[in-house]
Symmetry: D2
Subunit: 142 residues, 4 copies
């Protein structure tokens, strides 16, 4: 598996802001290495459910964008990968009023499919709130 | 499996609007029977990705709320079920500028866990864009 | 989605017996149409867990082979599809001493990926014991 | 999450051999700590597919038994946990003629549900062949 990075954290963030103007500002890249990408969800009112916890769809969105960025970091900005599958387990309630941090690792980067794992934590917490695995289809034209 | 309905479509919709003020207005109940619940996502700009197609998180949210409502229709409004697991497959690109329709069936309604299947279509389309299965944990206090 | 069948039930069964000599005899095709494939698991001691119920891996194997055969029925015997993903929910305990029946539908048959749904019943039962969704990667050489 | 172990590797192996006589001998525990359980599938002819690679159902069985044992190691041998959900991704072809090693971590051990992650490798290999997440329901009587 080719582990060389073709985009760094600030390039990825600029790409996200440009290509996904509706949601790009929700996310920030905390760290990026060959092994691990950490993405922050800057929690705002629109991400919350009654009771003040982050909604399931917001956690899904965080896992989805994290694996997407982990794939792009290796393929470069030309790729147009699309999510084909996600399994997600919601295990603990998010702490109220705290950002979420997603730790994401690529398990496979093949010619056609990429698979990444994501663990989501409350910022500062040490037990995962949710885990997800996502598969992306990679266009054959690259 | 107890198939009696304890809430009808308009009661469910009112419950959704009251309990989930941030997203309730995004959804409308198309039909409800013992076998099938159909929920509409009233697609707006905030649900879209570049190119005009509905985003993955919006489809996840539609499947999630649909199974939730299918569970509540049988348990009544007192229950506080929480999603524990979702697997979702994205199979086709949504048509641009068209609402989504989710067709949802409960496969299990046990004492602790409920499982529901959801198929998502573009309004008027006949091939599923996405399919999802969700598990809800049901609080033991009911 | 091309729904024409390129193999019938007896051809599929012969293919299975020839290509999978170790497990082919465990399965029989009950019915095959453009919409639905039904496959029987002929339950034997090796499929059981203590208590006499069919094991989880045996149910997984039944769902896996059913979607595989549903794909081959449309592609013909030349294809060499491989499972890339499965999500499976175990919902009820199988009845003891009874075969299992899997009802399988293809949701997508794309150039690269096929997605199929499987519901597993005890023979004669009317509530699903398990549901599964499987994705197959289809070799680009077809 | 309570991380104390109530069973050690040899007690777990003895439990498996006694309770699952049909498959217990297929598996051996390589290592067990509070963080990680490693289980070996002793690959035999019955686990293989044409071409000599380990079958999907055999990898599913390895992931399933590994998470089960990781749960029992914490709960003790009285528990009768049952699999309710599994998502599994098959990413690479197993090497022929080589045992499989499953590395399993518990992500949650709640009162009702336990969630564990499993990565499967060819013995001696360093890229995961498959990943799986399993949920077990824990009987309320413990």
């Amino acid at each position: 598996m080719d582990r060389e990075l073709k985009m760094d954290a600030s390039t990825l963030e600029a790409f996200l802001a440009r290509e996904f103007p509706q949601v790009g500002a929700d996310f920030a890249i905390e760290s990026l290495s060959a092994d691990l990408l950490e993405v922050r969800l800057k929690v705002a009112d629109r991400h919350l459910r009654p009771g003040g916890t982050v909604s399931g769809p917001s956690m899904f969105a965080l896992a989805d964008v994290s694996v997407y960025l982990a794939v792009l970091a290796r393929l470069g900005p030309v790729a147009l990968a699309v999510t084909t599958n996600c399994s997600i387990d919601f295990m603990r309630k998010p702490a109220a009023g705290v950002d979420l941090i997603c730790r994401c690792r690529l398990l496979k980067l093949g010619k056609l499919l990429a698979v990444g794992d994501a663990l989501i934590f409350s910022d500062g917490g040490d037990e995962a709130l949710a885990r997800a695995t996502l598969t992306y289809a990679i266009p054959p034209t690259r």
